[in-house]
Assembly symmetry: C2
Homo-oligomer: 333 residues x 2
C-alpha cells in the first residue's frame, strides 16, 4: 500500500503533513508514505522531523494556492504538487493521493489526469455527516454546482457502493434531498431523478428533507453540489454557533460554571461527536484512481485519519465496485 | 387593528388558536381578533374558551389539509378558511391573515386572491435565523423552488425593506447565498444576480456562505426557495440532534447528571435561543396584503407571537415600503 501526500496542501503544511506521517508510521504495519512537493521546502521539513529515510520523496515545482481559480490552476501550474501527485497515481506508482489543498483544483486536476470511471460523467465529493446510528453520507458537497438528473443518479450509485464496500452495509438506503417527501415536490431535475432512481435496483427510499440528515433513517443523501455545500456549511455554522452560545451560557453564573465543570467530559464528547476528526478525509468519488481531500485546517490527527481513509478506500477497491455497479445497473443512468 | 386567524391552521387547531387569542387579549390595548372557519367547529371552541363575545367570526366551508397539493387546493377548495380569509383581507375587512396551515396552499391562495405588489413577480417566505448580534433574515425559504436572477433581486429589496421598517436597521447588509465568496462562484443565475445587485442602491455585501447565517455579519441572506428550505431544515435537524446528543451525554454518568442539574437554567436559555418562539410568524412578503405563516406545530405562545408579528407588519406598513422601494430602485429589477 503506497499513499502519496501533498506537501503543500492545507493551512499548516508542510509541518502538519510530517506530524501526521509520524502518527501513521507509529502504528503496526503502516503503508509506504510519500510526500510530493518542492524539494527546498520538503527536504528541510523531512530533516526536521527525522523522516528523511522513512518517507519517499516526489519532486514538484509549482504550488497551488487556496485562492487560485481551479480551472486556471489546472491549466497553468502543470507541475504543481497536485498535478505531479495525480500523474503518479494514474501511472500506478502510488495507490492514492491525499491533499488538504484547494478543493476545486484538486477535483479539476484529478479529473483531467485520471479521467472518470466509465459511465460516470462527473466525480463527486462526499462527506460523512454524524447522525443517530452512525453517519449519513452526503454527496455532492460542492464539486458540481449544476447537475442533471443523470448526474444525481450516478451519485446514488457511487454512494451505494461506498456504503457497501467501505461501511459494510447491505442494501444501503438512498434518499434524494428535496423540499418535501411528496413526489410533486422539487425541480424537474430532481423529480425526474426520483422517477429514474425508483426504477433501478438501488434501495431508493425517495425524497428526504434537510432534517433527515441526522435521524439515521437514510444512509446516503444525494443532491447537487450547490445545495450540498450550502447544507453542509449551514450545519457547520449552526453547530459552531450552538457551541459558542453554550460556552457563553455556561459562563453566565457561578452555578452554571460549576455545572459546566462537572459536565465537562460529557460536553467534550458532544463536541467530538459534532466535529469528528475521524470523519476527516472526503473521497473524490467516480475517478479512475483514489484521491482523498483532507480539510484545509486539519491538525495532524485529522490528517492521519484522511490518510487512513485513503488506505481503506484502496483496500476496499471502491473504484472497481463503482465500475461494476455502473455496468450492471438495471436502468442505465 | 384587525387580525383574522385561520381556525383550521396547524396541528393543534382550533384549540391552540383560542389559547393564543386569550394570551393576546390579556395584554393592554389588544387588536380586534377574528377567527375564520367552519361554524360547527369554531362555535363550540369559542364557547369552550369563553371567547364568543370577544372574538369576531368569519364563516368558511372547506378545510385545506396539510397533505393537499397547493395548486389543487387553491383551485378546488374555494371556500376554505384560507380563501375566505385572504378575500377578507383583500377587501379591507381585516388588516392581516395569520395561519398555521399548509404553507404552499397559503402562498398560492394569497397570491391568487391578493396579487403581488407592482414590480414583484413572486412573493417569498422569510425566516429570522438566530445569530450573533440579533438575527439574520433568510428568504426565500420554500415558496419558489426555481428562481431567476430578477426574482433574487426582488427578494433583496423585500429583505431590505423588512429590516428597515420592522427591525429599524439603517442600510441593512444584503448577502447572496453561494458556495463561496468569490465572484466566479455559483450558477449563472446567482452570478448575474450578484452583478445586478451590486449596481443597485441596496447595501449589497456580495456572496455569503452557509456559515455566515450565524455570524451576524449580514442582515438579509437571499436564495431560491429550494436552497433556503434545505438550509433551514438542515439547521433545524442538526440543532435537534445536538440537543438530543447533549441530553444523552449529560445522562451518561452521575458526575455529568449533577453538572446538568446545576447548568439547567443555562441550558434552558440555550434551547430557547435555538428555537425561539418569539421568532414564530414567517411573513409572506411581496403580497398586496399582510399574511403571516405560523409554524404548524406551534403552541399558544408561539402562535401569539405570530399574531404580534402580523400587528407589527401592519403598523410598519411593510407593503408600502416595498412598493416605494421598487418604484425608486436605481437599477430596476
Amino acid at each position: 500500500m503506497r499513499i502519496l501526500i501533498d506537501g503543500h496542501g492545507g493551512d499548516l503544511a508542510p509541518d502538519v503533513v510530517l506530524e501526521a506521517m509520524i502518527l501513521i508510521l507509529e502504528k503496526p504495519d503502516p503503508p509506504t508514505l510519500g510526500i510530493v512537493g518542492r524539494p527546498e521546502i520538503v527536504n528541510p521539513a523531512l530533516e526536521k522531523y527525522g523522516l528523511k529515510d522513512r518517507v519517499e520523496r516526489v519532486e514538484s515545482e509549482d504550488i497551488i494556492e487556496m485562492c487560485d481559480p481551479p480551472a486556471l490552476a489546472a491549466r497553468r501550474k502543470r507541475n504543481s504538487s497536485i498535478h505531479v501527485g495525480a500523474r503518479a497515481v494514474r501511472d500506478g506508482h502510488w495507490d492514492a493521493l491525499v491533499s488538504g489543498g484547494n478543493t476545486g483544483a484538486l477535483m479539476a486536476i484529478s479529473k483531467m489526469i485520471m479521467k472518470t470511471i466509465p459511465g460516470i460523467d462527473r466525480p463527486a465529493i462526499a462527506a460523512m455527516i454524524p447522525s443517530k446510528h452512525g453517519g449519513t453520507l452526503l454527496l455532492d458537497i460542492g464539486a458540481n454546482i449544476e447537475c442533471s438528473s443523470n448526474h444525481l443518479i450516478q451519485f446514488g450509485v457511487m454512494g451505494h457502493c461506498y456504503r457497501e464496500v467501505i461501511c459494510g452495509d447491505t442494501s444501503p438506503r438512498i434518499g434524494l434531498l428535496n423540499v418535501g417527501t411528496e413526489d410533486i415536490k422539487g425541480t424537474d431535475v430532481v423529480k425526474y431523478a426520483a422517477q429514474q432512481l425508483a426504477k433501478t435496483d438501488l434501495n431508493f427510499i425517495g425524497n428526504v428533507e434537510g432534517t433527515d440528515l441526522f435521524t439515521g433513517h437514510v444512509d446516503v443523501i444525494i443532491c447537487d453540489g450547490f445545495v450540498g455545500n450550502i447544507a453542509l456549511k449551514s450545519m457547520e455554522g449552526i453547530a459552531r454557533y450552538i457551541l459558542d452560545q453554550m460556552k457563553q451560557e455556561l459562563q453566565s453564573s457561578i452555578r452554571s460554571k460549576a455545572g459546566a465543570w462537572l459536565a465537562m467530559p460529557a460536553l467534550k464528547n458532544l463536541k467530538e461527536t459534532l466535529h469528528p476528526s475521524e470523519h476527516n478525509g472526503a473521497p473524490l468519488m467516480g475517478l479512475n484512481g483514489v484521491v482523498v481531500k483532507s480539510h484545509g485546517s486539519s491538525d495532524a490527527y485529522a490528517l492521519s485519519c484522511a490518510i487512513n481513509a485513503a488506505c481503506v478506500e484502496v483496500r476496499a477497491n471502491l473504484k472497481t465496485a463503482i465500475a461494476n455497479k455502473m455496468n450492471n445497473m438495471t436502468v442505465p443512468a
